[in-house]
Point group: C2
Chain length 418, copies 2
């Protein structure tokens, strides 16, 4: 079961059908697979590799690797860059990197801001548009109109030779993966709306995928760029502005679940007799470690920044300390349950929780050590991952770009499939 050999088995991306009615592999499938392997290899490499290095890394002959690279270069999915000044003996190589003319649009709607960002296959931001906005309880339509015109402005300045391959949208709520509808966003007070529809004509014709904010933010922790893995490939991710968004990453892939509703660690029950949550349940983690819950428990205004809370606690502010201890305890309990379910002993805290990590970590790790079944063999760890603004917008773009890495044949000039 663990061969180091390619697996031509059918994709299980959609719910498994009853029978094993999946397409067989043919010669062209072989080529598609190897094209994808070359793109993955180029994208994942720390240093721009040559054709020969790609061949060595993949086990292909130089001939095959070269043929495939040529096709990818023609399609703009891989770029040849200037050869380096430092030369070794032998014919100088032609360094290969991911194509900078393959671009996706990443969008994010948050309770506090709107973001639109253009990202290329190398993971670099070409242009972005960020604007603060107080959207909690607002009418959704104007927000999407604003986001649409921001996108338009970005796209207008795009050089003519880039290929815009799609758009991704991150939303802080429950999204239906099939239809792309936002089912419920408690912090915004929005329910059952179709973002693709509300964004309107701006993005007409551009394929749009909608996803959960925490899931997409987590993707920027696990990946520096599309196809380039970060240091961590297995971790739980918690982020939150008002509530707590959660995601689980396994093998570098975000665990979205069949409908896209997995990873809601913020609504793991800490204490069934605890305070009521907006979600209708009681004692959810969010009610202890959410920003709102935390600042309120500390006797501060809801929008007190995290570093101020940290400073107060460090200077002996008793209620602040109690609130943080309470949050740490809740985090420990909820994360322990999550780790027992998922076998992922690493937690990454993002957003304002990243700032609080030094205060939270000792208590959380102690509780995890006592409550996680496998702690005796692998000690659970908590770490912070400070994010740039609107990481989920980048993550949304990554998700689209990852499709090019996974199946580049769809974007080459080759014979069109389906």
């Amino acid at each position: 079961m663990s061969l180091d050999v390619p697996d031509l088995s059918p994709r299980r991306s959609q719910p498994a059908t009853t029978a094993a009615a999946t397409a067989s592999a043919r010669q062209s499938t072989l080529r598609e697979s190897n094209l994808a392997l070359v793109v993955r290899t180029v994208a994942a490499a720390a240093e721009a590799p040559s054709r020969a290095e790609v061949a060595a890394a993949t086990g292909m002959t130089r001939a095959t690797a070269s043929r495939l690279v040529d096709e990818l270069v023609r399609a703009g999915i891989v770029d040849e860059i200037e050869r380096p000044a430092v030369l070794r003996r032998g014919r100088p190589m032609t360094p290969l990197v991911a194509g900078s003319r393959i671009v996706a649009l990443g969008l994010q709607v948050d309770a506090g801001f709107l973001a639109a960002r253009l990202v290329d296959l190398r993971g670099q931001t070409l242009a972005e548009h960020l604007q603060p906005a107080d959207l909690a309880g607002s009418d959704p339509a104007p927000a999407f109109v604003r986001l649409g015109s921001a996108s338009e402005a970005l796209l207008a300045r795009l050089p003519p030779d880039v290929r815009l391959i799609g758009a991704g949208l991150a939303l802080p709520g429950i999204v239906d993966q099939e239809t792309g509808r936002l089912l419920h966003a408690p912090n915004l007070g929005w329910s059952d709306l179709d973002p693709a529809d509300l964004l309107g004509s701006t993005l007409a014709g551009l394929p749009l995928t909608v996803g959960n904010e925490a899931d997409l933010a987590a993707a920027t922790v696990s990946h520096h760029a599309p196809g380039r893995a970060g240091k961590l490939s297995d971790f739980l991710y918690l982020s939150g502005e008002i509530g707590i968004g959660g995601a689980a990453v396994r093998g570098g892939q975000v665990v979205t679940g069949r409908h896209g509703w997995a990873g809601e660690i913020g609504h793991v029950c800490v204490d069934p007799n605890g305070p009521p949550c907006r979600c209708g349940s009681t004692g959810c983690l969010e009610q202890y470690a959410g920003r709102h819950a935390l600042t309120t428990a500390a006797g501060l205004t809801p929008d007190t920044p995290a570093d101020q809370l940290t400073e107060l606690a460090r200077n002996g502010h008793r209620t602040a300390q109690t609130a943080i201890t309470r949050a740490a305890r809740a985090l420990g309990i909820a994360l322990a349950s999550t780790m027992n379910i998922l076998d992922i002993p690493t937690v990454v805290l993002g957003g304002y929780l990243a700032t609080l990590t030094p205060l939270l970590r000792p208590d959380v790790e102690e509780i995890l050590q006592g409550r996680v079944l496998s702690a005796r063999w692998i000690s659970p760890t908590v770490r912070a991952h400070p994010q740039p603004t609107a990481p989920a917008a980048t993550g949304a773009a990554f998700r689209r770009l990852a499709a090019v890495v996974a199946d580049p044949a769809r974007w080459t000039a080759g014979p069109h499939r389906r």
Copy 2:
């Protein structure tokens, strides 16, 4: 990302390596993939298909399907069976089924019994050996010796033409997937031992995989036979004799986690102030809904059978009713957290919990409806799945046989790889 096209990408069975250093696909890979597809198709089919039907189901030409089937028949992985009496017009077909001469040995050690079972690729039990045993707190060595001689007896009576492809062992505890060691089995009181070593010479040379009992029992819920999916492909599974074993199944695959420690739903925290658990934590689900906890709370002896408990509760036995309500409440809380993490709204209760399901279900489902975020769109359901004796032994055999379905080329006469 969701094409109905085979995916030749490398297996991610082992932890993702840093770079994308995976083998490229070659012609032989194509063949291996299509061989596997044929085996899957034959194994999954409800009615034994002909070569032509295999071709139609997979999208291959009849020529290709026929070639591949021939090779599989030669290797004994697929069997041609007698043509049916009822004939249609045209040349009669040759029905194909999974090979009955490919056999695996499934073993299970439980606190209450030992089991050894020979299962073929069709999922049928060829022979089995079950014996009661009170192993809690016992010395592990004699138990494995007994299991070894039971296996020996089974293997001795095996016809000479069968191919024994391996053995699987189910244990009620934490197992290290890499090494196959049992790290900790609280109900047995065993720690850190090597089952392959203790089973000794009997199975020498036979590859042995060790797995968690609940994970393997869940595999028999999701699959009727190796490669033949059951009705459910996404569910949480709970079983327990003394404690509660848990497993999560997603897309027909048991979610084992990176180290094999996932799915420990029995140790999700229901109430941080609850009773202490053997695992070192407090308020685990097991302490409310485990058999021991349940019978004790009902004021009965620990080994009271489930149907007797049911009868008492139905006849108005107050403490029995209270105990069951308490268990249902705990199940609701723990399962709600699990569902929020995994996006799997179906629970299957096995073992003695299956018997109690009629009493538990109303309360559990009501709590789930209130605590699961996605319940408004998909209502969580609880169902029972009564199992035969030692289901995990069958599951352990299935796991080995599934390797043949996944990669039949390793068992054909073709050129040996690696």
